[in-house]
C-alpha cells in the first residue's frame, strides 16, 4: 500500500460492509473523497473447493461447484459437466442438452436480475431490487419444481440431469416468460432511464477494451467494453449453435463505451436474449430418457481438459486433470468474477468512494466464486 502521505487516509471497506457483496475487504487509499489506490484482500470466503475436489469422486464435486457461484449454480454445474463430458467423450441425449440450456438460461436471468437489482441498491434505489427479487423468486420456484432445491441445485450430472422435467414444465415456463417480459420495461422505466441513475453510472469507471482483455475480464463486463465475445456463440458448447440470439455489446448510450451504465445495460439486454433462447428451446424439447447416458462409474481416461462455458459472470473455465481413478487429480476453476475484480484497482483510481461502490457493483462479483 505504499506510504500514506499527509493528506491521505486509508479506508477499509469491508469485510463487513453493505455493498461489498460478500466478505471482501478493500483497502482504499483516499484523498478526501477521491480514491488513489485500492488493494483488494480476498480469501475471507475461501472454502478449499479445489482441495475438496481432490478428495471426493467426480460426481461428488458437483455439489461443491454449486457453492462456488451460488447465484448461478446451474451454470456452474453446466460448466463442470461440459468439461467432464469432453474429457470422457460422452454423447449426450438431445433432450438433456435442451433441458440444460433451458436451466442455464433461466438461471442466467435469475442471476442477472439479482445483479441488476443489487446494483440499484448500491446506487441507492431500493424498490427495483425488490421487484427483481420478486421475479427471480418465480424462477427459483420453477427450479424447485424441477429439482427440489431453490439455490444449490446439483441438477446437472455427468451424462445427464438428475431429474426429468416435471409435469407441464413447458407451459409453466412460457407462462413465466409471458409474465416476465413486460416487467423488463418496468425495470427500465423505474431504474435504467432514471436520470439520477444514469448520472451516477454513465461515464463512471470506464474499462477500455484492451484493458479489459488484458485483465481477463469476460462476460457482460467485457461485452460492455465493446468486445463481442460470448462463449455460447464463439466456442459453442452444448446445443447453443442451434439457437438464434444476439450478443449484446455496450452501446455507450449515455456515456463512454465500457462505463458502468454499459455493463448494467448489457445485462439488461442479455436478459432479453435469454428470454429469446428460452422461447426457442421450450418450443422444441425432444422426448427421451434423461438418464440413458449416465455412466455407471465415472472413471475418465488419463488426461486433462480445459473447457470454458458462459456463466452469467463470464467465462467459467474448468481445468480437470484425471489420473484414471474415480477421484479427480486436480480440478481448477477459472472464475470470471476473480478476473473481473482484479481490474478494480486500475478502473477506480481517481474516482470517488461512491463511484468505487458503483464500479464494484457493476462488475457483478460473487465472493463465493472469487474465493472458491
Amino acid at each position: 500500500m505504499g506510504v500514506v502521505k499527509g493528506d491521505q487516509m486509508v479506508l477499509n471497506i469491508g469485510p463487513q460492509h453493505p455493498s461489498t457483496h460478500g466478505v471482501l475487504r478493500l483497502e482504499v487509499m483516499t484523498d478526501g473523497e477521491i480514491v488513489s489506490q485500492i488493494r483488494p484482500h480476498l480469501g475471507y470466503l475461501h472454502r478449499c473447493f479445489e482441495k475438496h475436489s481432490e478428495n471426493v469422486t467426480y460426481e461428488q464435486v458437483i455439489p461443491f461447484t454449486d457453492r462456488c457461484d451460488y447465484l448461478a449454480s446451474m451454470n456452474s454445474n453446466f460448466g463442470y459437466v461440459v468439461a467432464m463430458e469432453e474429457l470422457m467423450e460422452i454423447k449426450i441425449p438431445e433432450r438433456v442438452e435442451y433441458i440444460r440450456v433451458i436451466m442455464g438460461e433461466l438461471n442466467r436471468i435469475a442471476s442477472h436480475l439479482l445483479a441488476l437489482g443489487v446494483y440499484g441498491l448500491d446506487i441507492g434505489a431500493f424498490t427495483p431490487f425488490l421487484y427483481m427479487l420478486r421475479d427471480r423468486e418465480r424462477i427459483l420456484d420453477i427450479f424447485e419444481y424441477t429439482c427440489g432445491a431453490r439455490l444449490l441445485y446439483n441438477y446437472m450430472w455427468v451424462g445427464g440431469v438428475s431429474h426429468d422435467l416435471p409435469k407441464d414444465f413447458e407451459t409453466i415456463c412460457i407462462d413465466f416468460l409471458d409474465y416476465f417480459e413486460p416487467q423488463i420495461k418496468e425495470y427500465n422505466n423505474l431504474l435504467s432511464y432514471n436520470k439520477i441513475f444514469v448520472e451516477r453510472t454513465a461515464d463512471v469507471g470506464v474499462i477500455p477494451a484492451d484493458v479489459a482483455v488484458s485483465y481477463g475480464v469476460t462476460g457482460p463486463n467485457l461485452r460492455a467494453s465493446g468486445v463481442k465475445w460470448d462463449v455460447r456463440k464463439d466456442e459453442p458448447y452444448s446445443i447453443y449453435e442451434k439457437f438464434d440470439f444476439d450478443v449484446p455489446t455496450g452501446t455507450a448510450e449515455f456515456g463512454t463505451l465500457g462505463d458502468c451504465y454499459d455493463r448494467y445495460w448489457v445485462r439488461m439486454l442479455e436478459i432479453e436474449e435469454s428470454v429469446k433462447i428460452l422461447r426457442q428451446a421450450l418450443k422444441e424439447v425432444p422426448s427421451g430418457d434423461v438418464h440413458q447416458a449416465l455412466p455407471k462409474k465415472i472413471r475418465p481416461p488419463i488426461g486433462s481438459v480445459y473447457r470454458r462455458t458462459e456463466s452469467p459472470r463470464g467465462d467459467l473455465g474448468y481445468y480437470i486433470v484425471s489420473d484414471g481413478t474415480p477421484v479427480p487429480s486436480r480440478v481448477k476453476m477459472r472464475s470470471p468474477a476473480f478476473t473481473a475484480l482484479s481490474c478494480l484497482d486500475e478502473v477506480s483510481r481517481g474516482w470517488m468512494i461512491s463511484d468505487v461502490i458503483a464500479i464494484l457493483g457493476s462488475l457483478d462479483i460473487v465472493l463465493g466464486e472469487i474465493d472458491r
Binding site: 453493505p18 473523497e33 448500491d122 431500493f126 425488490l130 423505474l190 439520477i196 441513475f197 451516477r200 461512491s354
Partner: protein, 358 residues
C-alpha cells in the same frame, strides 16, 4: 396557544414574571415534544407501510394487539421504541466522549426550536415571531453542528465522511431554500408566518385558492425549488449521501446505538415536519381550507394544516422509495448550477410580476 398568550394569562393571575415565563415555556414545550414523538412514531409506521406497498410487500404485520395475530403491525413502532430505549447504549472507547454524548441533543434542539414556530392553526402556535420564516431557516442550521460533532467525536472514518458530506450539503442547500422562500416573503411583504398565511386567503379567479404557489408562475417554481432543497436539508433520498447506506454504512450515525440513536431518529422526522410545515405555511396556504370559504374555522385549520403536512411528508417518502442516490459532486452541481440560478431568476421574475400586476 402561543407562549405570549400564556404569559399574558399568567400576568392576570399574579405578578411572578420569571416563573410565568418558565411555566409558559414548559407548558407549551411538553405538547411540542409529544408532537415530535408522535410524529416520529406515526411517520415511521407510515414510512414502513408506504415503502412496503411500493415494493409489493405488506410491511410489518404482527406485533399488534394480541401479539402475533395482531392487526397490521400497529404496535411495531411502539415495540421499536421500547427496543431502542432498553438497548445498550455503547460509546466507543476511543471517541471524544463529551462531544459524542452531546451531539444528539444539539441536533434535537435544532429540530425542536424549529418546531416551536410552526403554525399548526390560526391559534395553535408555540411562538408567533414577527420573523418566523427567518427564525425557522436560522435554527434549522443548528442541527448541522450536532452532525459534525457526532461525526468527529465517533472517531470513525465513515462517520467523519458522513459528517463532512452533511455539512457541505446542508450549508449549500440553505441557499436555494432561503432564496426560494424570499418569493412568498416578497409577495406577502412579511416575515411573520401567521400574516403570510392570512395573506393567502381568498381565491384566484374565484376557483383556485389564493395560495402563493398558484399566485404566479414564479412562485409555482419557487415551491418546487424550496421543496427539493428541503428534502436535501433533511438528508433524505435522493440526497441522503451523509448516511448513504451502501457507501458509508450509516454515515455519522454509525457508532450510535440505543437511546442516542433514537434521538437522532426523532430529530430527523421532526426536521421533516419543520421544513414541510414551512413549505405549507409559505406556499400552500397554511391552515387555510383548499375550498375557499368552507371548513375554515376552528379545528378545521389544524386538520388542513396537518393534511397538507402529511401529504408533503408522504411525497418525501415517495421520493425515498423511488429514486437512487446522487453523488457528492452531483449534489453540489444540482444545488449551485441548477437550483440557485433558478431561484435567482425567480426572485427577479416575482419582482417584475409585482411591478406589473401587483
Amino acid at each position: 396557544m402561543t407562549v405570549d398568550a400564556l404569559i399574558n394569562w399568567f400576568a392576570t393571575i399574579g405578578d411572578f414574571p420569571v416563573l410565568a415565563f418558565i411555566l409558559a415555556v414548559i407548558i407549551s414545550g411538553i405538547p411540542l415534544f409529544l408532537v415530535m414523538a408522535l410524529n416520529a412514531m406515526i411517520a415511521v409506521y407510515v414510512e414502513r407501510k408506504v415503502s412496503a406497498f411500493m415494493m409489493d410487500r405488506v410491511g410489518p404485520m404482527g406485533q399488534g394487539p394480541g401479539l402475533h395475530a395482531g392487526k397490521w403491525g400497529l404496535l411495531q413502532t411502539a415495540a421499536d421504541a421500547i427496543k431502542l430505549l432498553v438497548k445498550e447504549d455503547t460509546v466507543p472507547e476511543s471517541s471524544d466522549k463529551f462531544l459524542f454524548k452531546m451531539a444528539p441533543y444539539i441536533i434535537f434542539i435544532g429540530a425542536f426550536l424549529g418546531l416551536a414556530a410552526v403554525p399548526f392553526s390560526s391559534s395553535l402556535q408555540v411562538a408567533d415571531f414577527n420573523v418566523g420564516v427567518f427564525y425557522i431557516i436560522a435554527v434549522g442550521s443548528i442541527g448541522i453542528i450536532g452532525i459534525v460533532m457526532a461525526g468527529w467525536a465517533s472517531n470513525n472514518k465513515w462517520s467523519l465522511y458522513g459528517a463532512m458530506r452533511s455539512a457541505a450539503q446542508i450549508i449549500s442547500y440553505e441557499i436555494p431554500a432561503g432564496l426560494s422562500i424570499i418569493v412568498p416573503i416578497m409577495m406577502a411583504g412579511t416575515l411573520n408566518l401567521q400574516e403570510l398565511i392570512v395573506f393567502q386567503s381568498g381565491t384566484i379567479w374565484g376557483i383556485l385558492p389564493n395560495w402563493i404557489i398558484f399566485n404566479n408562475p414564479f412562485s409555482f417554481i419557487a415551491f418546487f425549488t424550496f421543496f427539493i432543497s428541503a428534502v436535501a436539508e433533511t438528508n433524505r433520498t435522493p440526497f441522503d449521501i451523509p448516511e448513504a447506506e451502501s457507501e458509508l454504512v450509516a454515515g455519522w450515525m454509525t457508532e450510535y446505538s440505543g437511546f442516542r440513536w433514537a434521538v437522532f431518529f426523532l430529530s430527523e422526522y421532526a426536521n421533516m415536519l419543520v421544513v414541510s410545515g414551512l413549505a405549507v405555511a409559505a406556499f400552500l396556504g397554511g391552515w387555510q381550507s383548499p375550498i375557499p370559504g368552507l371548513f375554515n374555522t376552528g379545528l378545521w385549520g389544524l386538520f388542513w394544516f396537518m393534511g397538507k403536512l402529511g401529504f408533503l411528508i408522504f411525497v418525501m417518502m415517495w421520493f425515498r422509495w423511488t429514486f437512487p442516490r446522487l453523488r457528492v459532486d452531483q449534489l453540489m452541481h444540482v444545488c449551485w448550477k441548477v437550483l440557485i440560478p433558478i431561484t435567482m431568476i425567480n426572485i427577479f421574475g416575482v419582482g417584475i410580476w409585482k411591478l406589473i400586476f401587483g
